[in-house]
């Protein structure tokens, strides 16, 4: 990300607040939203900040109206965002499809909570991973970013706006209650951001903003480059669907972002996305004996492994485990090649997720020759490093 380093400051922020600050810095000048736990701090902060930055804010009557309003605002020339959670995100799905088919650059933040339905308003989950990719009816491509820290809530929000403009479409920031509500010290930037406009825009539809004399027709039906409907023509429609999907999927190398940690000599990898990457990183540090008390809480490795049929004396520590972390920052389009490269030398991959084990299926598909083990956890509590390490022990067994 391009930053103006002269205006860098360190602050302690909550994840949701960092997202709001990131949006303003990214040039977002319109926010429409509807309060919903656990994303409400974003609308609260932007109800003041957006107008102070010279933009516009409206609290809409519902979430689908919010998503529609930001699309309208974007065609008026304002970069625009909304933020929601759980049922609100479900309600927005039709508008996300509209943004995809009309190739409207917008950012939608989903601070995930437990579902389905009203579910668990105050607890975290990663259950919306497939909804983020396939939530709206029909086929389309979409970019989804998964922050795992307050700094990433800020940075990825800025990045989301850039990707939305470059690839002309909705970008989802798939956060969750853990990163939304935690507080950390981060670096933020103020003043005018120097943005170089992307060299190539990937739009098939009309893309000139309104009131520029272009007579732009924004059409939700499948359409040609003039916006005229082609929905009744099978050949043209098929080609259109391929284009709006492939402009994302075929450019995965430009979008994909994967961070690795201690993977150089690892023979076991934890593949994680979003907030679960945090205990995953701690697990790696613990096994590797890396001391970092600021990030890594001290914990004594005491666990009754007899219950699992493993002899206790052999596993009082995890120091023989060569564990590494592969953290996926851009969950969609699926960064298949980067993942394959990162996991090239490991035999076993553990995939912890706060859901029934969904994204793991993609990883199993991408790594057919590895032992890929899901570690699902539902109910709202994030995995502990100890749970992760115990699972690894269970899978890789004892160092001979």
């Amino acid at each position: 990300m391009e930053r103006d380093s002269n205006t860098k400051t360190q602050v302690v922020l909550q994840g949701n607040e960092a997202c709001a600050k990131g949006a303003v810095y990214a040039g977002c000048r319109f926010f429409a939203g509807y309060p919903i736990t656990p994303s409400t701090e974003i609308i609260e902060m932007l109800s003041g900040e957006m107008q102070k930055a010279g933009g516009a804010f409206i609290q809409m009557e519902d979430e689908i109206g919010s998503a529609c309003a930001i699309i309208g605002a974007r065609w008026g020339g304002s970069k625009a965002m909304t933020a929601t959670s759980g049922p609100g995100y479900t309600l927005m799905q039709e508008a996300i499809g509209f943004a995809a088919v009309t190739e409207t650059p917008i950012v939608i933040v989903n601070v995930q909570r437990g579902g389905p339905s009203t579910g668990q308003p105050t607890l975290s989950s990663q259950q919306d991973i497939y909804q983020a990719r396939y939530g709206s009816h029909g086929d389309y491509g979409i970019i989804v970013l998964a922050p795992s820290s307050v700094q990433e809530m800020y940075d990825f929000t800025v990045k989301a706006f850039d990707l939305a403009e470059q690839f002309r479409g909705p970008v989802i920031l798939l956060a969750d209650e853990v990163v939304g509500h935690m507080r950390e010290k981060i670096e933020i930037f103020s003043g005018d951001r120097r943005v170089s406009s992307p060299k190539k825009k990937y739009a098939i539809s009309p893309s000139t903003d309104f009131f520029k004399g272009a007579n732009t027709l924004v059409e939700g039906q499948l359409h040609d480059e003039m916006g005229r409907r082609i929905g009744h023509m099978a050949d043209k429609s098929g080609a259109f669907i391929e284009k709006i999907t492939r402009k994302i999927e075929d450019n995965v190398d430009m979008i994909a972002d994967v961070t690795t940690y201690c993977m150089e000599d690892a023979d076991v990898a934890i593949v994680a996305w979003g907030s679960v990457a945090r205990p995953s990183l701690n697990a790696v540090k613990k096994a590797r004996g890396i001391k970092d008390d600021r990030i890594l809480p001290k914990f004594r490795v005491v666990r009754d492994l007899v219950k699992r049929g493993v002899r206790e004396t052999m596993h009082t520590d995890y120091s023989h485990l060569k564990v590494g972390l592969i953290k996926i920052n851009t969950v969609w389009p699926f960064p298949e090649e980067l993942l394959q490269q990162a996991a090239e030398n490991v035999d076993t991959v553990i995939v912890p997720e706060m859901n029934i084990g969904k994204y793991c299926r993609e990883i199993q598909r991408a790594l057919p020759d590895k032992k890929v083990v899901p570690l699902p956890k539902c109910g709202g509590n994030i995995h502990t490093p100890k749970e992760l390490l115990d699972k690894i022990l269970e899978e890789v067994g004892v160092d001979e």
Binding site: Q51, S66, G72, F98, F210, T216, L217
Partner: protein, 276 residues
């Protein structure tokens, strides 16, 4: 071809998808005449939802957003907030606006946000083949009310007036000249302007709903079944008039030029709080 038609219509997109005898063409042309009369076409954008009437602006040589079922007003509000100096005209139908989009209609009217909403009311879901809508008269037999419609039809003009819309008019396709003036006035008015247009759908409503399937006779029915409201001076700021002798009131039904508009209120608050 008509000069105005050539100026405002993408002729390469013709023919329109409207059925023979449809009222949409009359409304499409009345709006063109209003744009021309105002002379600010470059400052006008149109937003529509889903349904036959939402295709009206898709043929205009203007910036047009053909959006989702029921959500045109929400899109229009976002566009308006991004470009407060521009004029946004919403084309919608009775199902689009009052049924699925009812929530957005209610709140936009209550905000008195500066939009012009032209609601084409044909008492039917035409595009899907003739099912009852929120305005279908009681007793009418449609594809989804085979034993006669039992719901109380919603008077949308009354609804938006009660909420705070500041320009409310109702005309019919049998009154194209008055309709054109109403559209121009609605666009010029700073506030939520709501113009209901009774419009025939001879193909899907026809005999079962209007008791008549000939377009010209349905339009005659609009003249016979309505009366033009002539208010006493200053009487336009109150409730809308009631039907008289079974005739529906048409004309300018409610007008409050001094009502506070949403964007003005925003600006006032921001100035008062020292934000702007």
């Amino acid at each position: 071809m008509n000069r105005l038609y050539e100026k405002y219509i993408k002729t390469e997109s013709l023919p329109t998808l409207f059925c023979p005898g449809c009222g949409n063409g009359i409304i499409q042309y009345a709006a063109i005449e209003a744009f021309e009369r105002l002379g600010i076409a470059e400052d006008i954008a149109c937003v529509s939802g889903i349904g036959c009437s939402s295709w009206i602006p898709c043929y205009y040589k203007l910036d047009v957003m053909h959006t989702m079922h029921g959500r045109a007003i929400a899109f229009a509000e976002g566009l308006k907030l991004a470009r407060p100096e521009k004029k946004i005209v919403v084309f919608t139908g009775d199902g689009d606006c009052v049924a699925i989009g009812g929530n957005h209609l209610v709140h936009a009217a209550a905000r008195n946000i500066d939009l012009t909403v032209i609601m084409v009311n044909n008492y039917i879901y035409g595009m899907t083949g003739g099912q009852k809508s929120p305005t279908t008269p009681k007793g009418a037999r449609t594809k989804t009310s085979p034993f006669g419609c039992i719901d109380q039809p919603i008077d949308s003009c009354k609804l938006v007036t009660s909420l705070g819309a500041s320009y409310v008019a109702r005309w019919t396709t049998a009154h194209p000249v008055q309709l054109e003036k109403a559209i121009a006035d609605g666009i010029s008015h700073k506030g939520f302007s709501f113009i209901e247009v009774l419009s025939q759908c001879p193909v899907q409503a026809g005999k079962n709903v209007y008791g008549e399937k000939e377009p010209s006779k349905i339009m005659e029915g609009y003249k016979k079944g309505t009366y033009i409201y002539k208010p006493q001076a200053g009487a336009l700021t109150g409730d809308i008039p009631a039907p008289q002798d079974g005739k529906i009131p048409i004309g300018l039904l409610h007008y409050d030029p001094d009502a506070s508009e949403y964007l003005q209120r925003v600006e006032e608050r921001l100035k008062a709080e020292g934000v702007r």
